[in-house]
Subunit: 466 residues, 2 copies
C-alpha cells in the first residue's frame, strides 16, 4: 500500500475478471485469439487464471445461471452460452494451480439450500487457503425456475427476503466452529474443543436449519460476499451483506450516483462504507493506437451471426418479430414493449438518435460497456472512475479470452502500476487481504445453545434401520 | 487384460479406496502414521490420491453425509468425524493432480435437486476427462433432515422411490446434448447442432425439471453410478441403476449370497449382470508377519478414547446408559433394543460368546471388517473372494492414512499383480474404461421434444424486469 501526500495509507485499486469460456462477448468463441472449445477446456481456464494471477488481479469471477441461458434455440446454438462448467467444481480445480488470486463463484439463493452453499464455499475457502468468494444472486431467468419444479420465479421482493435469510443462515453455519476450536490434540484425544462448537438451530420464514456445518471455520472467517442487485431491494441487500458490489454503468456520472447510493445505504445499516467495494463492469479492448483497438473491436463485431444479431435486438427492444426485416435496414417502429422498460427505451433512443440499422444496434447492444483504447487511455478511464469515486475497482469482462486478458495484463496493468494505482505484487495471501476487508468476528453465542447435545426428534438408530 | 486358459479375456479385479481424512478408523487421526489435521489438509489428500494412482486403483471414493455425523458431542469431539471437505470441491481439486484414477463422490437423492447433481458430476467428468462417479445415497441420519427444513427423514420406501426418479432425471439431463452435438463450427457460426439438443421436460411424482442441462454430454456418457443400499428396496435400486455396489460383508458366504442376489436382480431387470460390479469393504492392515500386522492393529485400537469406546458400544447395542459401568468389565445385560436388530444382536452374541468387556466390544465394533495379514495372506483373501464370486473388487477402507495405503500399494498390490489378478498399469483413461463398463447410449428422443423452442410459462423479459 502506498501513502497519500499526508502520509495516510492510500486505498489501492482492486480488480476482478470474469472467467467465461472463450470470453464475454457473444461472438468471442469465434475470435481467432480464442479457442473455440474454451467453455469446457480446463487447460484454457488454467491459462487464463494464471495470466490474471500474473497481473496480480484480486479475483477471478464465474457468473452463473442454473439453466441454459436462452429460450430461442435458433440463436442460442450460434453462441457459446449454452455450455459451461459448474462454477464450484471449476474453482476448486483452479485452486490447485493458482496461489494468490481470489476465486469467486455464483450461487443462487433462490434455487439452493443454505447448508449446501455454506459448505461448498467453506470447502473452497479451505482448499484455497482463504481465497473464496460467493456472488449471491437471486436469479432472474424463468428457465431456472423450470429446472427446480416451479412454473415461475418467486416474486422479486420475496426472492430478496429469502436471500437475506439465506445469507444469515450461511453466515451462522460458517461460524459453527469457533476459530481455533479444531485443535487436534492427539495426546488428550480431543479433536475439537466442544465449547467451541455452536449449533445454529435456525428457524425462520424460509428455512429451518439445525446445523452445525461439518467443517472448521473458513480461513477467511467468511468467504467474501459479492452481489450485483440493481433494484431498490437489490441495492439494499448489497448494502447489508455485500462486500463487493458489481454494477453495469455506462457513464461516470451514473457510476458516481450508484457508488454514493450504496455506500450511504451501507452506512445507514451501521457498516463502514469502506468495507463495501463497488466494481463496475469494464470490457476493454486494447490496441497500440486508438484506431488499432477499434479495428480489433470491429473484427469481433463482424463475427456476430445474423440470427444472433436479430435475436439480440429482439431481446433488447421487445418481442417484435424482426424476421421480415433486413439486418442492414432501419429498425421498424416498435410500439409498447414488454421488456425491461429503461433498457429497451435507452436502446430505442440510441437507435433513433444515431440512425442505426438493426445490425448496428445489435453490435452496440452486444458490446455492453466495451471500451477501446491504448494502454494509456484505458488506464485514464480506470483512474478517472477510481479517483472520481465511481469505482473502487472493476469487474473486467474480457470480450475474448485469453487474448484480451493477455493484452490487458501485459499492457494496461503495468501502466496502472506505474501510476501507483495498482499493486506491483501480492502483499497478502487471502482474498479479504487483497481487498482490504476485515475478517468477520464469529456471531456471538446464543442462549438457546447451552444444550448442544439435545436429542433430535428421531434417533439415528430408527431412521437407519428397518 | 489377461486371458483364461481357453483364451477368453479374463475379468480383472477392480479396486477402489475410501479417501477419508486421516483414515477410516475412528481413532485413525491419532495414529502416528496419520497427520492429525488430515481432514482439511489438501496436500495430504493429494499424497493419498497419488499413492493410490501409483497402485493403479480404479477409483478413490469420498463418502458423505450432509450433517455432522453424531449426536453425542462428548464422544464426537474426540473423533475426526465432524470436519471434512465437501466432496465435489475436493474431487475437482484432485482432478488436476491425478491423471487416471476415478473420482467418486457421494450425493444424496433425498437432500438435493437433480439439476444440481447432474450438473456437478457432468462438470467433474469434463474436468477429469471421464473419471467421475456418483455414489447415489438416500441418506440415513436424522441430523441431515434437520439441515434441510425437515423434522424427520422421508419414509424409507418413499426415499427410494424419490431416488429412482432422481436418477432417471439425472440421466436424462446428462443426455441433453447428443455426443458430438457441440461441434463448434467457427466458420458457420454454429456452436452446437440444434437437432442434437434434447430438452427433458420431466414431470414426475417428485420432480418437475425442464432442462436441458447446460453442459455437453459427459465424456463417459454418464458418470459411473455407485450405490450401497442393503435393504430390499436398496438392492433393487442397485440392480436397476447401480454399476458398482458397495457392501459390508463379514464372511465369504455372506458376500456370495449378496453377490448372487444383486446380479440376479440386475438380470431380472434386463441388465447384463457383468455391468454391475460388487465391491465389499476391505479394511486391511499389512505387516511383515501376521503377528506384526496384529500388533499394528492393536496399536490403533489402543487409541480409542474411553468416551468413544463407550459411545460405540451404546450405539451398537442400543441406547442403554453405560456410564456406570467400567470399560474393562463385562457388558451388562441389555433388554429389548431399539437399534437395528440384526447388527445389535450380532454384536451382543459376539460379546457373550467371546466374553468381551465393554472395551473389547468397542474395539471389535470399531474394527468393522478390519483384517490383518502379510501381503500374501491379504492377497489370498482378495483372491478367494474374487474367484469365489463374492466380489468383483473391493472398496478398500484404510484404517489410517496415508500409512496403511502406502503399505498396501507397496506390498499387496505387487502381490496381486504377480498373481495376474490386477493390472500392471492403466490401460484405459476413463473410469468406465478401468471398470470394463459400457458407455451408455443416449436416451432415445421423445415425441414431445419436437418443439424445442416452445415458449415458457413466463417470458424472460417479464421475470427479469419490474
Ligand atoms: C456484473 C454482474 C454480474 C452478474 N452475475 C450474475 C450471475 O452470475 N447470475 C445471475 O443470476 N445474475 C447475475 N447478475 C444479475 C444480478 O444478480 C441481478 O439479478 C440484476 O443486476 C438485477 O438486479 P435486481 O435483482 O436487484 O433486480 C449479474 C449482474 C451484474 C451487473
Ligand atoms: C461402503 C458403503 C459406503 C456408504 N457410503 C455412504 C455415504 O457416503 N453416505 C450415506 O449417506 N450412506 C452411505 N452408505 C449407506 C448406504 O447408502 C445405505 O443407506 C445403507 O447401506 C443402508 O441401506 P438401505 O438404505 O438400503 O437401507 C454406505 C454404505 C456402504 C456399505
Amino acid at each position: 500500500m502506498t501513502t497519500t501526500p499526508d502520509g495516510r495509507p492510500r486505498r489501492m485499486l482492486t480488480l476482478g475478471a470474469v472467467l467465461q469460456g472463450a470470453g464475454g462477448h457473444i461472438a468471442g468463441w469465434r475470435h481467432p485469439l480464442s479457442p473455440p472449445d474454451g467453455e469446457l477446456d480446463l487447460a484454457h481456464h488454467i491459462r487464463v487464471a494464471q495470466t490474471l494471477e500474473r497481473g496480480t488481479f484480486d479475483a477471478l469471477f464465474i457468473a452463473d445461471v442454473v439453466a441454459i441461458s436462452g429460450t430461442d434455440l435458433d440463436a442460442l446454438h450460434r453462441t457459446a452460452r449454452s455450455v459451461r462448467f459448474e462454477p464450484l467444481t471449476l474453482l476448486a480445480a483452479l485452486s490447485t494451480v493458482t496461489e494468490r488470486i481470489g476465486l469467486v463463484g455464483t450461487a443462487s439463493t433462490t434455487y439452493n439450500e443454505p447448508f449446501h452453499v455454506a459448505r461448498k464455499f467453506a470447502s473452497l475457502d479451505h482448499l484455497s487457503a482463504g481465497r473464496a468468494g460467493w456472488n449471491a444472486v437471486t436469479s432472474v431467468l424463468p428457465q431456472e425456475a423450470a429446472n427446480f419444479g416451479r412454473d415461475a420465479h418467486l416474486e422479486h421482493g420475496l426472492r430478496y427476503r429469502r436471500a437475506e435469510e439465506f445469507v444469515e443462515v450461511v453466515r451462522e453455519l460458517w461460524d459453527s466452529f469457533d476459530d481455533g476450536a479444531v485443535r487436534r490434540d492427539i495426546a488428550a484425544g480431543r479433536y475439537y474443543d466442544p465449547t467451541g462448537l455452536r449449533t445454529p438451530h435456525h428457524r425462520g420464514e424460509h428455512f429451518a436449519v439445525r446445523g452445525p456445518l461439518s467443517i472448521s471455520r473458513p480461513p477467511q472467517g467468511h468467504p467474501v460476499i459479492f452481489q450485483a442487485g440493481s433494484s431498490e431491494a437489490g441495492k439494499d441487500f448489497a448494502a447489508r451483506y455485500g462486500e463487493v458490489v458489481f454494477t453495469g454503468q455506462g457513464t461516470l456520472a451514473g457510476a458516481q450516483r450508484f457508488y454514493a447510493d450504496v455506500k450511504a445505504r451501507a452506512a445507514a445499516h451501521g457498516r463502514n462504507p469502506d468495507h463495501l467495494l463497488v466494481w463496475p463492469i469494464l470490457a476493454p479492448i486494447v490496441g497500440d493506437t486508438e484506431a488499432a483497438a477499434r479495428a480489433r473491436r470491429d473484427e469481433l463485431l463482424e463475427l456476430i451471426h445474423d440470427d444472433v444479431a436479430r435475436r439480440l435486438v429482439q431481446d433488447t427492444v421487445g418481442d417484435v418479430d424482426l424476421s421480415g426485416y433486413p439486418l442492414d435496414g432501419p429498425l421498424p417502429e416498435v410500439g409498447e414493449t414488454n421488456r425491461s422498460r429503461s433498457r429497451s427505451e435507452q436502446m430505442l433512443d440510441l437507435a433513433r438518435r444515431e440512425n442505426l440499422t438493426i445490425r448496428g444496434l445489435a453490435r452496440r447492444s452486444s458490446g455492453g460497456g466495451m471500451i477501446t483504447g491504448t494502454p494509456e487511455t484505458i488506464a485514464d478511464h480506470v483512474e478517472e472512475w477510481f479517483t472520481g469515486r465511481g469505482a473502487d475497482g472493476f469487474n473486467v469482462g474480457f470480450p475474448y479470452l485469453p487474448g484480451a486478458a493477455e493484452d490487458f495484463v501485459d499492457q494496461v496493468v503495468p501502466e496502472l502500476r506505474r501510476r501507483g494505482l495498482f499493486r506491483e505484487s501480492y502483499t497478502e495471501t487471502t482474498l479479504r487481504g487483497h481487498l482490504g476487508l476485515p475478517r468477520p468476528v464469529a456471531i456471538a453465542r446464543r442462549d438457546d445453545l447451552t444444550h448442544p447435545s439435545e436429542p433430535l426428534a428421531d434417533e439415528p438408530s430408527r431412521a437407519g434401520s428397518r
